[in-house]
Point group: C2
Chain length 510, copies 2
């Protein structure tokens, strides 16, 4: 069998390209965390230059020469003309490199540079527009980015909808046709469940979350939980940014950010746990495969499954708080001494339609995504114009969640994604929610007494399991295959639906 | 006359290259300020990759094609084959681009990448070795870097000494033959002056500088002085690092760092002012010329003149403290209320041979440099081995300053420079000291009542003058020409010697 060793020259070229991409990620991280306001325009140009260089290297004759000795460049099939087969890691590497290469090959370098520059700029304008609640200020940039993304879909080519071309970038294999029934199933069971909860006699009081909490101590507690999860601060950092995110420059340098509000205990707490879940995945990738697909995360949906599992299945569970609540009480003695664990557990799990996606409960969260999924399709397919977004947004919020944002800042401007051109990204959040529970169910089957371990503050057993089952494999398997390998079946919404029905049924005495 | 407009395509190529260099600078800044410890090896590779890409682009056939339409590539002479002459900015740009290009052309890209990688790694090892006072830990890396720098000198070619090849990188036109008499003149007058001071009946008590000072307040005061100097925080930041430095990614994003010690008031204070002087230069470069030599600083000596002028001519002057001392007293009321301005002025100007260059007084500072200048030459010319450095260092410290470091950490390990291969860098510090006073004398002649302005806290008049005379010109003029334009004469140690003789003569009643 031919092995990875025979692909070392190709891998070396890929590492070189990845180092440039990693440098661009450092510049982006810096832009979101430390860059002085005046530096934005120059920074956009610098990132665009790096992405242009990386793109040119990926589609260069050098890469092509290295790739075509092993792969049929038109079909992506590995070549075995010497009669000897490639082993599985080598086959996976070739499959995924070809995927990246042939996609990149369809995009002119000038276009890549322009798109990168416009997205960096738009992201900065978005941040200001959100602060000023001024959608009109952001509109010209959004129009530009939208037009470029529609152009990108044309370059990439697609079946049925240009939106499919963009979806596939974030979630290999995902299509509108595959997602629609998934969302329909969710809607069919989540909307009635939400109704039942709203009609329930149980009223959860979560006001304790909105007392005053020292922000430095909130950060300390977030850091403590990250350490307990196994997030390695020798290979990572925790910083503040407007929109929490995780970024990785190498498995030895993976950074998470959070935000912190004095009067919102849940915000910093759960964004730390959430980003920590992402961070564990990136720290768990094999550094020896850095730069090649085998050292890269498999898809955004799988990535999100890691963050959502830690945030929700673990971080909003009774078991977790059995250990951590006393610690939290010690940290905020004054505010929490007379609040018991059960009260706190209910507070952090209160179901309530609200405006902000990242602060939504586990149930309504997917309705936020559904709304974005539908709007994105309309935008990319040209049925809706950027100008109409605020109205369309508010109308769908009313329809799915029964509430209307009073400002665009808590409406259409809340998320950063569209500003940097990430159309097709949102559905991966829902995929993440579903994968999270599907994987977690499996973890409970395979790890003896998992919940007891968690209740004893022993989170590392779960990290180890995830590392072995998911992190270490990089892009060896497609998302579909990975799910099958880990859980025996493809993605299904059943575990998630069972989980929310059980969890909220009990909490709301349905 | 042919103008810059005709060089726009070349300028665009240079901007592209500079963006990659700027990205590498962001990665270095991050390495020194925020990077988690584990990220060092990957970071070294990433920076090396960027520098390799920038180097390849600079010596590419694209650049060559653009350059050779306007310049004779072997002599560097601008071509006027159409009979029309280039105007001065265009001539300067061509002269300097050719300088950079022909230097880069002599270095193989593989060598550039290797040098960059080894320097990044050595710098990290140095930082640990310094902390552990373990020269032996650093020695293997130092040997590697030294060998590479000697190799570099061979690639570059030189007259008389390979050290000249390295010097010229930092200070165009500087040579051993030019520097030696300068150092001899300094030695001839500084050593007797130091003797006189040591024999003076005046004893300056600077113990007030070593009381306990809240570090956060020290940082606040440093920030206040930076703002007064005109350092623009919309286009800059102040951070902490082990070794204070200034870096620029564009005139709209120029960052300074400092360090802060509870029991050393002068350390943070003067490193803020010093780096602020560098920062003003970089913020004062013309953003329209970013990426071309006209938007770049002219030499390290001139750069250092800006930092040393602010640090010493301004920051250690009576005029400055007439305004700022009451503010400092308010900030540290408890420690300073019974210390008068004159006492404080004397304390910050106390002459005392000491171990650490960056904390040396203005007089002994140049002796620190002389020692390094001599050792560097010996290392590069092969008369001394890296292994012998600690002994050689201590022996020269004894000879020039009359003291012997008790550890390598306060001896040969104190400076970062050699770790990242910056041999030939140190002499620019002394050039900076001399230029600083020469420029400052001129500023006093040209700016009405400069010292009164400073005494009223009005530092912006000086920044404006420096901007007009020096910053805005980039590399339009050579260091030599610039000095002549600004002061009417070439570099001369006379103003500096007069300045220290007068200042210390008065302070020590000589």
């Amino acid at each position: 069998m031919k092995t990875l060793k025979m692909l070392e020259e190709l891998a070396s070229q890929l590492r070189e390209i990845q180092r440039i991409n990693s440098a661009a990620s450092v510049l982006s991280w810096d832009q979101e965390t430390h860059m002085p306001a005046g530096g934005g325009i120059a920074r956009a140009e610098q990132i665009a230059t790096l992405q242009g260089v990386a793109h040119q290297k990926l589609i260069s004759t050098d890469t092509e020469r290295l790739l075509k000795t092993s792969v049929d460049l038109t079909t992506g099939q590995p070549l075995d003309h010497d009669g000897e087969l490639w082993d599985e890691p080598a086959q996976s590497l070739l499959r995924e490199v070809w995927r990246d290469y042939s996609r990149a090959k369809k995009l002119p370098s000038d276009f890549v540079i322009k798109l990168s520059r416009e997205c960096s700029l738009a992201q900065q304008v978005w941040a200001e527009a959100k602060e000023d609640n001024a959608f009109a200020d952001f509109l010209p940039n959004l129009r530009t980015v939208l037009a470029l993304k529609r152009e990108e879909a044309q370059y990439l080519g697609f079946v049925e909808s240009p939106y499919n071309a963009l979806l596939d970038v974030y979630e290999p294999g995902a299509t509108i046709a595959g997602l629609r029934p998934l969302f329909a199933q969710l809607k069919a069971r989540l909307v009635p469940l939400l109704k039942k909860i709203q009609n329930s006699a149980v009223r959860i009081d979560d006001s304790v979350l909105f007392h005053s909490y020292d922000t430095a101590r909130q950060m300390e507690f977030g850091r403590l939980v990250l350490i307990a999860m196994g997030y390695d601060f020798e290979r990572g950092r925790l910083d503040l940014s407007a929109h929490p995110f995780t970024t990785s420059f190498h498995p030895t340098d993976v950074r998470v950010t959070t935000r912190v509000h004095e009067h919102d205990l849940a915000s910093c707490l759960f964004s730390c746990i959430h980003e920590g879940g992402h961070g564990l995945y990136d720290q768990g990738l094999d550094p020896l495969h850095y730069g090649t697909p085998l050292g890269d995360s498999v898809s955004l949906g799988i990535h999100e499954s890691q963050s959502r599992m830690w945030e929700n299945c673990v971080g909003r569970s009774r078991a977790f708080w059995r250990f951590f609540y006393p610690v939290l009480q010690q940290t905020f003695h004054h505010q929490l001494r007379s609040v018991d664990t059960e009260h706190f557990y209910a507070a952090i799990n209160r179901v309530k339609p609200s405006f902000i996606r990242v602060e939504a409960d586990e149930l309504t969260y997917n309705l936020h995504i559904m709304l974005r999924f539908e709007i994105e399709q309309d935008l990319i397919e040209g049925r809706t114009k950027a100008d109409d977004l605020p109205d369309l947004w508010n109308q769908k919020m009313k329809e799915y969640l029964g509430i209307t944002p009073s400002t665009d800042a808590e409406g259409v401007l809340q998320d950063v994604h569209w500003s940097f051109g990430a159309f097709g990204y949102f559905p991966t959040y829902t995929l993440g929610n579903l994968y999270a529970v599907q994987f977690y169910e499996q973890a409970r089957l395979e790890i003896p007494h998992l919940e007891d371990e968690i209740a004893a503050g022993q989170l590392l057993v779960l990290r180890r399991w995830l590392g072995q089952k998911i992190h270490r494999w990089g892009r060896m398997f497609t998302p579909e295959r990975l799910a099958q390998r880990v859980t025996g079946v493809s993605l299904t919404p059943e575990p998630f639906l069972r989980y929310v029905e059980r969890k909220y049924g009990e909490l709301y005495k349905l």
